[in-house]
Structure formats: C-alpha cells, structure tokens
Symmetry: C2
Subunit: 261 residues, 2 copies
Amino acid sequence: MADLALPELDPTSDRPVFKQIADHLREAIDRGALPPGAKVPSESQLMAHYGVARMTLRNALQILQSEGLTVAEHGRGVFVRSRPPVRRLASDRFARRHRERGKAAFIAETEDAGGKPSVDSIQIEETKAAADVAKRLGLAKGESVIVRSRRYLIDGHPVETAVSYIPSEIARGTRIAQPDSGPGGIYARLEEMGYRLNHFEEEIRCRMPLREEAKALRLAPGVPVFHLVRTAFADDGKAVEICDTVMSSDVYVLMYQLPAQ
Amino acid sequence: MADLALPELDPTSDRPVFKQIADHLREAIDRGALPPGAKVPSESQLMAHYGVARMTLRNALQILQSEGLTVAEHGRGVFVRSRPPVRRLASDRFARRHRERGKAAFIAETEDAGGKPSVDSIQIEETKAAADVAKRLGLAKGESVIVRSRRYLIDGHPVETAVSYIPSEIARGTRIAQPDSGPGGIYARLEEMGYRLNHFEEEIRCRMPLREEAKALRLAPGVPVFHLVRTAFADDGKAVEICDTVMSSDVYVLMYQLPAQ
DNA sequence: ACCTAGTACATGTATGTACGAGTGGAGGAG
DNA sequence: CTCCTCCACTCGTACATACATGTACTAGGT
C-alpha cells in the first residue's frame, strides 16, 4: 500500500469523505499505481489508513464498483477490473460472401479472432407477435412468429444473448424452425428460400442490464450492455427477420462504415 | 402505497432482504404500478412496511439507482426515471446533401426533430498528437494537430461532448481553427479545401462515464454512455479528421444501415 | 503423502444511532 | 394579503456493532 501514496483526507473540503476516498482510489487506478488485476487494499487496511468507519469505506468502494472500475470477490478482496475489449463487429459482417462460406456471422468472426465460439440455450417457439415485433416486421397484430432464442459464448464465456423473430408464414416447417438452422445460419436459409436479402438496419441502445441479463451474461456490477435490434430486409423491401440482441459492453466494440455521399 | 401491493419479505429465502426489496420495487416499476415520474415510497414508509433498518433499505434503493431505474432527489424523494430516447442518429447523417444545406449534422437533425440545438464550451488548441490519435490519422508521433472541443445541447440540456482532431498541416490558419467553423461545419470546410470526403468509420463502445463526463453531461447515476470515435477518410484514402464523442445513453439511439452484399 | 479442521482475513448483510441539508407547506407577523 | 419563519419530512453522510459467509493457508492427524 506504500507505493499507492494515497493522500490524506481533506477535512476542510466540502466533498464528502467517502467520495474523497473514491477519488483517491480512482486516481491511483488511472495513474497505474493500481494496474488491472491488482488487489485494492482491504477494507480494514483502508479503515486504518483513513481512520473512518467501515460503512464509509464501503460507500467509497461501491462508487468504484458502480463505475465498473473494480470487482469485489467475496472472501478474497477487491480487484481492479481488466477490460480488454475483445470483439469488434465490423459493418460488413453480414455480407453474402461470408454467408457463402457456410458459417454464421458469429462463428466465422470468432474463429478468425482465434476464439472458440459456441452457442447454447437454443430455444424455439411459435407465438403471436408482440406489438413492437409485429410493427417492425410489418405484420398485423396477433400474427404468428417463430422465435429463436440462444446465447453465444466465446471460450466458454457468455458474451451475447439473441432472440430472432421470423414470420411463421415464412419459417414454419423449414429448418429455421429447427434448433440447428444449418450452415450459414438463418440468413443463408432465407436466401435459399428465395428471400434475397437487401440490407439490414441496426438500432443500438446502451443501458444497464436487467437482472436476468446480468445473470445470463455473467456481468460484473457496473457493466452496461449494448442492446441491438437488427431488422433484415429482403429485395422486395419487406422485413423478413428481426434479431434482438443484448451484448456485454466489456467484450464488444461495434464498428460501422458510413458513406459520405 | 396501497395500490403498489408490495409483497412481504420471504424469511425462508436465501436471497438477502435488501435484494428482495429491490426485486419488489423493480417489479412494481415493470408492472406499471410505479409509472415513470412516480414517487417511490419514502425510506421511512418502506422501513415501516418491511420492518427493516434504514441501511437495508438504502441498499435496496441503491440497486435500483445503479440500474438506472430511479433517481433520488435530496429533500424530495426517490422517483422513477422516465427516459424517452429522443434522438436517433441515422446512418446517412453525414451525407453530402445535408452538408450542402449549410448546416452541421447536429444542428440539422435536432431542428428536424423539433428541438433547439446549441453548442457551448468551444475550445480550440494546437498540440502534439497523442499516440492513438496519431495512429488513427496516420501521422508520425509528435506531429501537430488542431483540437476542437465542444459540448452539444438540446433545449439547454447537454447531450454530447465532442473533440475533433485535424492534422495541423491541413487546418492551420483556416476557419477550422476558428471557434465558428462556418456553415456546414468542419466537413464542409474540408471539402471546400479539396479534401473530398469518401467515407466515415465509426467505432462504438459503451461504458460507465468518468466523473468529468457525468458532470459535463449532467448524467444521473446509473446512466452509461456511448463512446464513439469517428474517422473521416478523404478520397485518397487518408484520414483527415477524427472525432471523439461521448453521448448520454438516455438520449441517443444509434441507427445504421448495412448492405447485405 | 494426503486429507481435514481450524484459523485468520476477506467481503456480505443487517441493526442501530446521530446529525446534516434540501424541500415544501403551515402558520404567524407585519 | 403578503412575506417570512419555522417545522416536518425527505434523502445524505457518518459513526459503531454484530454476525454470516467465502477463501486461503496452516497445523495436525491419519
């Protein structure tokens, strides 16, 4: 703790003690005195250093945690998070040339990056489309859709959940309604069936995860998620699929190319 | 509080009390019993209802706040956040046809959406490019860049901060190095100067804000930010500008179009 | 050599108290 | 009637204490 050089509290400051302590630790992290993976001094050590109550300290540590700077591990200590964004999604990831290699976008990308992709929790059901889904797909309210849910993992770590909706009229009885949708994924099947894909629209939000999302993606506290809704349009201008995905923000960097013209 | 129908605690559950309370309140919010803007029962009311200590309650409320579901207002109460995403950035926002209308992207978009755009804190300086900036701009380390910082507001509320970097060799002595960059913004100036823009690349991350960012954007606790870095490429393939922006996630939804081909 | 119990230490949960500080309404002074 | 003071209620900060629970290491027994 010596090299940390944590300053003393400033009793004249208006800033509350627990925030001052959080500032000191944050600064130490920024400065590199507490590099990623390093153990933050324990609560008792910090209590002794600052001469404050444990609650005050926990409030300070809570701030850092909610900022995503640290993770607490029960019984072990508090550690500085290391968050190397691993995956980048480029804007040509759904290009037909990739699909023709016979691999779904996620699989191809992950292997290219040297990771081991996997998919689990695949569930398929058929239900009436909810209002927003129906709207995006251009369906009448109450029309039926095939719902494909699954979770993507890289090297065993969950990174993304995805739920696709395809009009039942298109997908019923096809391989799209099977757990294994076959080489090239859903989009390859759609094209085989004559729905030549024209373009995609992606809508991106950023927010804190719901409880179930945090659980499914094993997110540390203070980690927000990308919420991405992609709509696939066929050549006739009709939407043929929408895919609702929630992605851990630690792992993803999204990349897009925009025309200037 | 009667219509809230908050359940009693389950003493047999393994789930800690403060999390159970958070669950109840979250459920009430989801259910609509606590609509956006509604006042959450005060700490003392909840203490009476559940028969727990104040700290326990504050822990529960802290969870909701860190999830971005509520905001506490000192002396008034805790309220359910209403967060209508207002702005959508379409992927053609930098199309030349908009630029030729003589308005910068932000101004045009905001006015179209019926808001009053403004820009403040405009600062211009010239410094040596940091490593990552130099790399993106294809400059040698230590080469000089013009740095334009500013903050964008809609109806007086800050929504985005942006910092642009342009090689000094290009921008020095031009209007780009002036606080008012003129009609159509930086990109219009670059094209006038013969750097015909070819395409843009955007790189999007999502994370919790730093303290200064939260302050500059007046973010409530539990609100993450989009961190977007755009690189503008001229027809010769060289990068002519990069723009590093931090956007409040409750105000923005980003939209992109991807080709299928 | 191996396994186990104990122990020290870490964070997690929960109670209680006290006072500070912002908000807004009630009620009295002018 | 208006203004202002005061008070009740809100959340914010900080203290002290207790016990629960997870982790890692050590000493001891088998």
